[in-house]
Structures are given as C-alpha cells and as structure tokens.
Symmetry: D2
Subunit: 355 residues, 4 copies
Amino acid sequence: MSRKIFNVALLGQGFMGRAHSNAYCQAPHFFALPFELRRKVICGRNQAALSEMARTWGWDETATDWRAVVERKDIDVVDIATPNALHAEMAIAAAAAGKIVLCEKPLAVSVEEGARMVSAIRGLPNMVWFNYRRTPGIALARRLVEEDRLGRVFHYRATYLQEWGNDPTRPPSWKTEKAAAGSGVLGDLLSHLIDAALYLNGPISEVSAMMQTFAAQRDVDDATLLLARFANRSVGTFEATRYAVGCRNQNRFEIHGSKGMLRFNLENLNHLEFFDATGARETEGPRLLLASNDYWKPGHAVGYEHTFVSALADFLRALDGGEPFHPDFEDAQRVQEVLDAVEQSAGKREWTVVR
Amino acid sequence: MSRKIFNVALLGQGFMGRAHSNAYCQAPHFFALPFELRRKVICGRNQAALSEMARTWGWDETATDWRAVVERKDIDVVDIATPNALHAEMAIAAAAAGKIVLCEKPLAVSVEEGARMVSAIRGLPNMVWFNYRRTPGIALARRLVEEDRLGRVFHYRATYLQEWGNDPTRPPSWKTEKAAAGSGVLGDLLSHLIDAALYLNGPISEVSAMMQTFAAQRDVDDATLLLARFANRSVGTFEATRYAVGCRNQNRFEIHGSKGMLRFNLENLNHLEFFDATGARETEGPRLLLASNDYWKPGHAVGYEHTFVSALADFLRALDGGEPFHPDFEDAQRVQEVLDAVEQSAGKREWTVVR
Amino acid sequence: MSRKIFNVALLGQGFMGRAHSNAYCQAPHFFALPFELRRKVICGRNQAALSEMARTWGWDETATDWRAVVERKDIDVVDIATPNALHAEMAIAAAAAGKIVLCEKPLAVSVEEGARMVSAIRGLPNMVWFNYRRTPGIALARRLVEEDRLGRVFHYRATYLQEWGNDPTRPPSWKTEKAAAGSGVLGDLLSHLIDAALYLNGPISEVSAMMQTFAAQRDVDDATLLLARFANRSVGTFEATRYAVGCRNQNRFEIHGSKGMLRFNLENLNHLEFFDATGARETEGPRLLLASNDYWKPGHAVGYEHTFVSALADFLRALDGGEPFHPDFEDAQRVQEVLDAVEQSAGKREWTVVR
Amino acid sequence: MSRKIFNVALLGQGFMGRAHSNAYCQAPHFFALPFELRRKVICGRNQAALSEMARTWGWDETATDWRAVVERKDIDVVDIATPNALHAEMAIAAAAAGKIVLCEKPLAVSVEEGARMVSAIRGLPNMVWFNYRRTPGIALARRLVEEDRLGRVFHYRATYLQEWGNDPTRPPSWKTEKAAAGSGVLGDLLSHLIDAALYLNGPISEVSAMMQTFAAQRDVDDATLLLARFANRSVGTFEATRYAVGCRNQNRFEIHGSKGMLRFNLENLNHLEFFDATGARETEGPRLLLASNDYWKPGHAVGYEHTFVSALADFLRALDGGEPFHPDFEDAQRVQEVLDAVEQSAGKREWTVVR
C-alpha cells in the first residue's frame, strides 16, 4: 500500500496544539487511513517551548513565521490552532496557497470574517475542529436522531458550564481578552452548544439573548444565555458560562421529542441517556447507554483526546471517498451566524432573526 | 391544653382537595399544633363524589354553594383548592367575611386579580400553597442560602418538566382550558419555579420570554421559557413545559454562587446537591445530601404529600407566634408580577421589567 | 355500606408504634377498605409518653398490661411493635386468644421461637411487617419478576448499609442489646434483605456467613456478611451493617438474569432500575423507572410511611377476599430459618444448609 | 539530553498487545521520560496479523520465536502480553536473560508459578500491568487513604461485573479455556479487585469463597464470590462475574471507614465518590469528585488506555530514581496468594487462610 503523503503544518503551540499533535500521532494507530500524515512543521512564537513541543510530538521542524509556512510548496495541510482572532487571516492565506485547511473552532470572531473564510476555502478540502461531535455519546445521539427515535422535537436545552471565571488565582489567558478571542464564552463554549444543536436539531431561526460580564475590567462575556426557536418549530434555551461554580467542564444537553428523549453530559462522554417513549410507560425510563467507540472494546472508555483523533480520521476518509465532511467551514459559518444573531440580540435587547 | 378550634371549609374536591384534606388529617400527628382544625365542610359541584370524599377524609358536611359556605359564622378558615380562575372571587369573598384564607397556587389568573386579593386579605392571616418550599431539599437549600453558603450568586437555572401534554390518550382537564386555568404551564408550573427563585435568590428585575403551544386547538401555553435578570445581578433561565417527554414531574434547579452550588430535583425531593467552593478543589465535588425531615428518622424518606402537611403546620405555628408566614398572598403576588411580565414579554417579544 | 369493625390493640409505643399508628390513620384515606379499624388501645410501659401518643394518634385507651389487653374480648386485632425478644410471647398469647395478629419483623429472635409462633397462629389471619415489599420500587420489581422479565437468574446482591453504629454520640438503644433485640443487624437489617430475596428470587439453600462486632463491649453483630446459593442455582452476596459510614439507610439490591437486571436503593424508594437484555444492546442500558403508587399521580413521590399503609390495606383486602396474604408468619419464618443458618454458619465457620 | 535507550520486545499481539503498544507510543508525549523506549520487536504466532500490527504501531521487527527474542542481546525490556498460562515460562526466561520484565496480570496461573517468577526476577526491574491502579479515580483514592481520610476501615466491598458470559453469539476466547487462562474470572477480573484491595486496604488474612460455572461445558469459573477478613480487621465481600447482565465492565468498590467513605466505578474512571465523615452531617454527603489527570486540564477526561501509559511512565521514573515501583512481581504474587486461597476455599468449602 503506497499511500499519498500529506505534510502538515500546525499553527499554534498551546493546549489545542497538543490536542491536534496527539491526533496526528494516534489516528494511524486506530484507523486504516487512506493518507499518510507527516508532522512537518509546527509554528509558533515561543521558540523554546516550540522546540520542546516539536521534540515531544515529533514535528520535523519549527517555525515562527506562519506566512512563510503556509506558502511552502511542501506543505499540504495547514492546521490552525491559534487564538480565534488569527483564524481568518491564516485560513485565508492557507486557502490562497491551495492548502487543505483544518481550523479550530470557533471559525472566526465575526460572521463577516467567517463569510470571507468560507468564500476563500471554496473548492478546497477543509474542516473545523468541533471535536465534541465525535464523543461516543454525541455520535450515538446523532445516530438515534437519524433513525427518527425522537420523532417531532419539542425542546432543546443546552448548557456549557465551567467555573474558572470565578477563580482569582488563575493566570490570565487570551481567552478573556477580546482582542485575541473576539468574545468570551460566546465563541469558546456557546459555539460548541450551537454546533451540536444544528447537528442534532437543525437550523435555528431566531434568538433572544443576553450576555453578562461578572468580572471587573474584563471586556468579554463571562456568560451568554439565550432563548431560541428552531426551524422545526421546537424551542430551546442555551447557556454558556465560566461562572458555574461546581462544574469543571459540563457540556450538557437534553432533547425532548414526541417519541423519545436524549440527555448528554461531557463529563460522562462515553454515556448517553435515551428515553424511548414508544414503549410501555411503566417499564420505560431514561436508559443510561454506554456508547461504543472505535478504539477499544465496549466498556473500555475513551476520553477527551479521542474526539480529535476521530475527527481527523473521519475527515481523511471522507476526503479519500470524495464525500462531504462535516463539520466544515460552511457548517462552522452556520454556527457563526447564530453567534452573530446572539450578539446582536444581546446588544439590542430584542429577538433577532438568524440570517 | 385547651387549644382554640378552627373550623375549616375546603373549596374544591379534586386532586388538590385530597392533598389538603390529607394535610388536615396528618398535621396534628406529627406536629404539636397550637390550634385544632376541624374538617367542617367540603364544598364542590359533584355531589356524589363530594359525599364520598367527605366520608373518606372525615369532613363533617358537604356543600355546593361556596358563597354560602364562606359566609358561615362557624367557619374560621377557608381553603381554596379550585381551578385558578375561581381563586380571586372566592378569596375576596372569604376575606370580606373575615376568614383566615389559604389559597392554592397560582394566586390568581392575572396580576390585577392578585392585587385585589392582596388588598382584600390585608390584616387577615393567609397563606398560599406553594408547597414545594417545604420539600426537605428546598427547605435545606433555603437554610444554606441564609447561612451564606453560596456567596454572590451568578446563575439561577430552573426547569419544570412534565410530559403529559404529549399524551393524546389523556382525558381533558381544566388545566388546558384558559377559561378555568388562566394559562397553561405559566400558572401551573412556572409559578412554582418563580416562587422558589424569589425564595432562594430574591427579586427578578426583568425577563425576556416566549410561550409556545404545541397542541392543536389548545388556548393555553404548553411551554414557557424565559431569560431573567435578578436584582442581585445574577442571571437565569426558566423553562416550564408539559412536552418534556421522558420526565414525569421534574422540578429542577441549579444555583451557582461564588462560594457554592445547589442542585435540586423534585423527583428526589429528600435530596439536595451542594458544592462547597470554599474547600480544597481536589476533594470537593457536588455532595448528595439526604436532607432530614420532621416526620421520621434521617434516611426515612418523606413524599409529595408531606409538603402540604409542613406548610399547614408552619402556618399555624406562625399564626400562634404572631410571626409572619411565608408564602402569603403578598409573596404569591410577587410571583404573579413576574408571571405577568413573562406573559407581556412573550406577547410583545421584548424584555419586560417586572413591576 | 356497613363494614365490619375491628378493634385494634397496638403493643409498642416507639418508632414502630408511630409508623403503625400512622398506617391505621391513613389506610382508609387512600383505600376502600372492607373493614373499619378502630384504634382502641395502645399498650406500653411509659405511661406519660403513652398518653401523649394516644392523644396524638387517636387511640381510645392506653394500657400497660399487655397480657390483659390481648385477652380483652373487644379486641380483634393485636399489633406487635415491641422489641424483638417480646414478639413470641405476645404473638402466642394473642393467638391463644384467637386474635388477628400483626407482628413487626423480625418474627422472632430464634428459629425455634418462630416455629412456635407459626404453630400458634395457624388458622388465624396474620401478617408480618416486612414493609419494604410495599415500596413502589420493590413492588414493581416483583411484578417484573412475575412477568419473567429477568429470565434465569444468575446473581443476587444485596446490602443494607447504615452508619449509626459508628456514632459515639448516639444514645443507647435496645437494638444493640442482645437481651432485647436477639441480634444486631441480623434481625434488624439482614432480615429485610432476606425477605426481599425470598420474595424476588425464591428459597436460599445454603450460606457461608460471618458476623462482626466493631464496637467494644457490644454483644450483638454490627455487621453480618454472607455468600448464598439459591434453590434456582443463582448465587448471591448479602451484607448488612451499621458501620457503612456515608450511608444513612441504604437497602440496595441488584439482580442479574439472562433476560434482564433490576437495581433498587431504598434511598430512592420510588425508583427502580431495569435493564432489558432482550433489546438491541446499543440502545439498551439501565432504565431509571419511576414506579407508580396507589396514593398520588405518577411523579408524585411517596415515602417511608406509605409502605406500612399499603401493607395494612393489602392485608385487609386479602382477608376480605379469602386470599392468602404475604408476608405472613410462615414467610417470616422462612426468613428466620435463613437467619438461623447464617448465625450457625458464622459460629461454626462453615457452609450451612438452610433447613 | 541524551537518554538511555531501551529496546523493547513485546510478546503478544492481541488486545493487550495493542494496549501496551499504545503505551509505548504515548508515554513520551505526555511525560518527560528518563529513558527512550524503542519498539524493537513484536512477537506472536499469527504472522500476517503481526506484520499489520508492527506497521500500525511502529514495531521495527516481528518474530514468532519468543525464546530467541528474549535472549537477544539487543533487547532490554521484555513485555509479556500473552495468555496467562504463558507468563511464567516467558518471564522466567526473560529474567534468566537479565531483562527488565513487564508482565500482564494475573502474574501466573498458580501461586507456585508466581513464586518461581518472583524468585527468578529478583534483582531485575519489573512490573505487572495492574493498570487500574492508574485510573484517576483509584489514584485519588490511594492518595486519600494515605492522607488518612478514611480512618479505621470497617468495610471493603468490591464487584467486577461483566456480562459477556451470557452472550451465546460471542466467539470463543482463550479466556474461557483453563489450559490457556488458568481460570475464568478468578485471574481475569478478581485479580484486579484484589490488587486494588491490597493497594487501598492492606493484606487479606482469610477468605471463604465460592466459584460458579453457569455455562455448560466450560472448565473455568464464570463467577467467583468471597467473604474476606483483612489484617486491619475490616471485613469485605468480593464478587467477579461474567454473568452480570446489564453491566459492560463495572469494576466497582466501596470502602467505609470511621472518617470517610470512598466509592469507585470503572465505568466512570475519572470520578471518585468521597464522603467526609469529619464534617457536619447535615451538609455532608457523598461528593462526586472529578479527579485530575496528568494528560489534559481538569474536566477533560482520560480513558481506559491512559492507565497503561501512566503505569509505564511511573515505572520508568521509579527505575531512574532508584525507587521501588508498584505493582511489581511481588505485589502481584500477593494477589496470587489470595487467589490461591480463594480457589482452595471454594474447593474445600471452608475458610482458608491466605499464606
């Protein structure tokens, strides 16, 4: 088997840089991939840390000039794992250079940026790392939705609960600076909830939102809450916050339909609760499903990192098969459009249609 | 001990009539009450059922003319357990006759009605049966709030999830008719959530709400959702619905403060989850507390009906001690004002200040 | 309807006296009973407390001489709620007087005593208050077993976990004195587990047991553990203890059969977990069932006390219908035989056949 | 940094071969290891699968003659991931060749074999892959035990519940053949429970056990159950089974001590429940701790595979620091001694002292 080789350039050396590096290492261990990915160059600004990271994760080279990197002829794939405000420029440059582009979420810091990115990437393979779609629990949820186990959906309810905003000892992060992050929980956490909602319940038509900053002297939202109407006439609430004391990282949702219910919590990402309303009520209750995974036997849990590995493997297999991959830039732009409506709604204090 | 005797007239013979009757029977078994309550007369429109109910629960007499009953000299307490639309007229008449008045929730079908009731009752002992305040879990929650175990509150999140709206085999009920109920889940379920929120987190300043009717040909709300700002600057979401397939009767809330978190679910009404953020993070997690009760030993659960018994006992002891009892008509009118703002907000599709 | 009247004499004025008194008060409120029960006389040794209890619960008379009481011609039912060591003498005397006899569990403090009681009661209506059979969860478990939803049973696992043995501040109780209680957790807690096991999984053939006393200077078992073989070839473990720190009152069991699993915890007595192994494995998981009850609507929980009320009502209806009631003295003697084998096994340190 | 290089030979190409291969790949990504491990040769009997596995996981060579491999001068580490019955011969040969030996659990199929292995390995670095010690939950449990958060232990209760024994469609496995596995759940599952028990609660003194085979024509135990006394005077029950229908892979334990309780379930391996009995009882309940890990941020779960990675990294760091590593062959032989006592006890049907 002589597989096509893709040289990868990774832009970013932070937490996400590690998560992506791990995906490149691990994907070929668990999946028969149609392409070979070479960890060619990792690009960042902190040279010392960069060298250490290259050594640890097996990147052939390091670089500090991302523009030069994305234009290198020997690079096939550009993977963007930088703060949000850099995504657009990097993705557009990589697209201009004809690269395959993988971009961290959120796609952009504004819907306008997102639109330019979508436009630039047209015709090129691309994906956005909304990794949670690949948790065993959400993957199973999607399957059940596709099999119409929910029937007509009435309610969608999602919360993303973190607590670190309340921790004064925590070192500063680009995630709380508007210049780098574009927003607070809106892009960081709510984007995940919206992506899952669009994935599982279809388009959102309109929203009424509020954004809240609890910390003094912070220029981004610590919490964003909204009501939503979906195109399928179901209604929903969404809430993302960094002030949910008691919750480390709880991305939770519940969906109620005429035929069933689903309940998920990222803290138990191998599980999914499913209620089957088509059975006898007396012997039906929420079933705690232990979802299977592509890595180990049933009952042998996977973790956070596997969501990235699966996303990468799925992307490569779709690419090889000539099939569309999701979520791509267009999917992520759908999320962006909702986030934009949320921001507008919160600013104007009125119901806002998602365009 | 020669205790004062109160003759009680119960208006209503439905599910709530049973719950209240039970409270009259049981309160003296578990609490040393300062007054003796006599089940004097039960009043309703279905004479056959009324006689059966009187026999079962030990009401001395039955009656079908409530106006005559509330004016009887020998009646001390009028307890209103009729459909919502009748509360105001009955309560005002009872107040005019100088009675002690106990009224089911919601207080009224409009804020205007509520205002007239509050005005009428002034100077007379009164209570509203927001019984869930007396679940062991919520009672303990209140205690922890009073002890400042939550610190500055950031988030309040409450849902009341029932599923019977989706059941086409269910017989019709006055609860889905605007003429009798005034509203759907707004008065029936959301009122409970709002009462608990005001009790545990103080006044709500403004809301953005939506109301939804899923069933064809129904003139009340099957679901009501809202965003809220509290006077203490915390933010919240509320959702009440009869279309939460998979959930029998889940009145749930979560509160996140700078010092702790609380989580409650009526399905486990003896329990309360408490997270103490003042301890070492590594050994802190949500604690599943088994709240004590006034009936049996710790670990011996109480149920739905005990909430009514406790409310009644607390009311009588407050009355005897000359202390204010809560929730009273005024408290319930605070709820009514929020419900009114919710209804207005949903109608006008805009943020609405709670007056 | 002119129902036969039964005059009841209650022997015992402690915690169980209250639980039984409540059952007499409440049964007619929720069930159309074929007999009328009069709370005629309550008998105990503490006259002051006895008078207070009679007043609270509506017992017509008090008495301190139980022998005189059980021989009174006007007494139809003798209800024994005294410390274990008194059951046999009282029950035998009551039987000799031709009474209907209701006896608290455990039936006796020895299998020999139990045998005499069974012999004495022959031909007279009788019941033993193994109340937990009437929790909504266990009642539903029994129904599922009867419907063969478990198939061939492989495993039965039960624990009764209390913690108060570890609490040095707790006042002394007859429950830790051999003279009054006959045993420690053996009769107090393990008896409940064994009764449920026999009810749900049939006879136990042999056991290997150990008994442990953790507290200094205590002459009863603080913990009893055993392995068991059932007649149906399933195997089991049982553990009852007052040193399960962290657990108030957790009577838990799990049953695994070829077609399904059941899981119960008294701390959530309205619930039962059921796994249906006959469905597609991917969408099957333990289902959290909210069992219905005979008191209120689904989703409106009942508590500890309702188990007594239901037992009483079921007994009376069986009596009226001429049907056998369970658990009766014979059922309780089956439990006694297992407890005896357990005690022998622990003493001799060997597997012991249940006779 | 020029680290010493260790050439590794992996014996075994099954499920465990994959788990170990993954550990060699991943350990250097997350830990600053003092040694460099080279995946030199993988050894098995199925050449086709072996080549595929070598390619996937980056083993330089394949081999089918394990004796030749363990004697190769260029091999530093021999890792044994073969069926249980082969462990002794392989480990002794590897030890004879002076290798570092890592051996899958259980150490051996008999206590005599284990003794010879311990004797052979003396003086050589060695470990046994009781990987579950490295789940975040159990690692945290150990830390709490070491900090004396439990006080005097009263009860230890452990179950390992799998269900595949009941699945007739499952292909045959060496795990159900005595010749290859030595035993059924005894070595496969109970060994894990015993290792954790010795790790967390110290030596076991004596046991009373039973072993059960449910399947026709199977020569190993499908279920093994036992009572145990620990040296610290606590008492315990253990149960391992492949017939726990409804449970995929639930390795669970509960420990009750005078100062606290711990509860773990492998199905939620990032979590641990902790009850602190030293606080005010009213605000104490089991705390659901989300244990931190060495891989990602708190709240970002790890999975099954990380337990192997951590074990390997810990082993290497201990080796470098000249510190003892646990669990080693001696630790595993302690487990073997308990398993031996269990087997004897079940065979003779009597309490058996652990030698």
